[in-house]
Amino acid sequence: MSTIGSEITKAGTAGTAPVRSSMWRQAARRLLKNRLAMLGLAVVVFMFAFCFIGPLFSPYTDNKIHLAQMNKPPSPQHWLGTDALGRDVLTRVMQAGRISLTVGLASMVLSVFIGSLLGAIAGYFRGICDQIIMRLADLLLTIPGLPLLFILGALLSDWKVPTEYRMYIVMLMLSLVNWPGLARMVRGEVLSLREREFMQAATVLGLRNRRKLFNHLLPNLVPLIIVIASLNVGGAILSESVLSFFGLGVMPPTPTWGNMIDSANNMIDFQKRPWLWIPPGFSIFATVIAINIFGDGLRDVLDPRPRK
């Protein structure tokens, strides 16, 4: 009848409201407009390219000891000078970056995976799952991160873990220390998400738990997880550097930014040979700051709620 007809034409005009592209594309567009975040991203990309591609262009990748070239200051042959064993510092910084970035990324992936999974399970199913997971997390959280890492690192040294495996052990250690904080954040988000009306609507639709958890909850967690993950890489790189600086993380001859600074750890090197510790120190600083700035930009952009 006429009411229905007019209603459909009205709806028809309403239906021509602009339908924009997916929220991910919108987020990307907003991110591109965020200068600071893009600067952070550029630095991160540069550091990765520098560390992973840079050594391909270096003539000094053999790691040989050149006693004649010990502790030389920067020169046209060695842009950042050489270290106590006559190795090219620039090449060492790049190779160390490979390890530091890999350790940071890998431990982030592992801790984000464990943390999100356990946090989501705890928050969604609550009850006994929640109790067990969160008590374990609390236990790990009561011990401050760095001291815990130091203890673990000291144990590693006592157990004489071969140096080539220490890198992997350090990744595991960092993940072990980092997942509880992540799990707690994810759990909190899940607890609030599960009370949202659309979750009730999903229940009312008769959807299974699996579908509710993976189709409805998880996509809402993705922004949070991405932000946590990006900020976490920075933290992991920093922790690895601190550990290695104290000789409790990755050990020479495997170079990392942390243990490069450590090997310049005496007054003479510190005062007279700044090319030994400034490049790795600056690399850590620039990378961690850049990652955090980028992570903050992501956080601003990935908030799915419509902005006013």
């Binding site: 009205k10 709806a11 028809g12 409201a17 609507a201 009312v204 639709l205 008769g206 579908r211 996509p219």
Partner: protein, 329 residues
């Protein structure tokens, strides 16, 4: 044949720190096949809790949940006794529900189309491809043009009215026997309200679905209802056929509501000009809960609770004015 939905002496009591809140207290109602029943009453009288009980949304997480008692028989089964899996096959499939706020009832990060497809895949076991085609058909059916594009868009890209249409599309997707709509048009502006109500009526006529419509708006009741249940402070105070109730209201509360009802066909948000306020649910003593606001309050009203009893044909009222024993005394 038994009625589609029979709620029998439903009680939902919340234990709070300050005391027990009897959100729903001894409510019985029935919805026949193909019938539209409206529950009306002021905010806080227990309409939503009644609806949520039907859906098994109260008392499900036993630890903190309220005390629930009574029976809710749907198509012969007592919904309050079903386990989680049995409930799941009824929700969305045989009973669908739409809420007041379409914007918050849809998942903000899932495309509209996906959300329409889900119950089709879950209950009708359609393939993703078939479900997608059916979803697009449903979007068209609720009067939205360019359904393919709408299917790909996200909730925040659509208006409230369009989202409520989408909610209706999802609700009717599996041809439910009962549609529960909790204030489905309260959040929408007046012209959109009319369109949404027209659409619900249309689908009901097409499919012989029953509707349990919750509202505080008598204009909506007049437009939609076959049968009306008036609630006050967790109790049914009057019920009856819509024409009878509108032409010959019995309970003083219903009369007050109708007196404050504006001109026909003109809805508005604030209907109530009945003096006084709803009593505090924590301070209810045996009495007619309406007595503080009732013009015709008698002594007995303050100390004894009137029972819901049949008056006239097919109507019921809970008021001492209609208890012969008292009136004759």
């Amino acid at each position: 044949m038994s009625d589609l939905l029979e709620i029998d002496r439903l009680k939902v009591y919340f234990d709070t720190r300050e005391g027990t809140v009897k959100a729903v207290d001894d409510v019985s109602l029935r919805v026949r096949r193909g019938e539209t029943v409206c529950i009306v009453g002021e905010s806080g009288c227990g309409k939503s809790i009644t609806a949520m009980s039907i859906m098994g949304l109260v008392g499900s997480n036993a630890a903190a949940g309220p005390f629930v008692d009574g029976q809710i028989r749907f198509d012969g089964r007592n919904l309050l006794r079903l386990d989680r899996n049995e409930l799941r096959t009824i929700r969305g499939r045989e009973i669908a529900m739409i809420f007041q706020e379409p914007m918050t009832s849809l998942n903000p990060v899932l495309p509209i189309g996906e959300q329409i497809m889900e119950p089709l895949i879950e209950h009708l076991k359609l393939s993703r491809k078939a479900a997608r085609a059916r979803a697009i058909e449903l979007i068209r059916k609720v009067g939205i043009s360019r359904p393919e594009q709408i299917a790909k868009s996200y909730p925040h890209e659509l208006s409230g009215g369009m989202l409520q249409r989408i909610m209706i599309a999802i609700a009717i997707s599996c041809n439910p026997k009962l549609l529960i709509a909790d204030e489905p048009t309260t959040a929408l502006d007046v012209t959109i309200q009319a369109q949404i109500l027209d659409m619900m009526r249309q689908f009901k006529a097409d499919s012989n679905m029953s509707i349990l419509l919750i509202t505080h708006d008598l204009g909506v009741v007049a437009e939609m209802a076959d049968y009306v249940v008036v609630m006050y402070s967790g109790k049914v105070v009057e019920e009856g056929e819509v024409v009878e109730l509108f032409t010959n209201p019995k309970h003083p509360y219903t009369r007050g509501l109708l007196k404050s009802k504006p001109v026909i066909n003109q809805r508005q948000d604030e209907l109530y000009s009945i003096p006084g306020q709803v009593p505090n649910p924590l301070e209810l003593r045996p009495s007619c809960y309406f007595h503080e606001r009732c013009e015709r309050c008698m002594d007995v009203c303050r100390t004894r609770e009137p029972r819901l009893r049949e008056v006239g044909d097919n109507g019921k009222v809970a008021c001492w004015l209609y208890e012969e024993a008292v009136v004759h005394a």
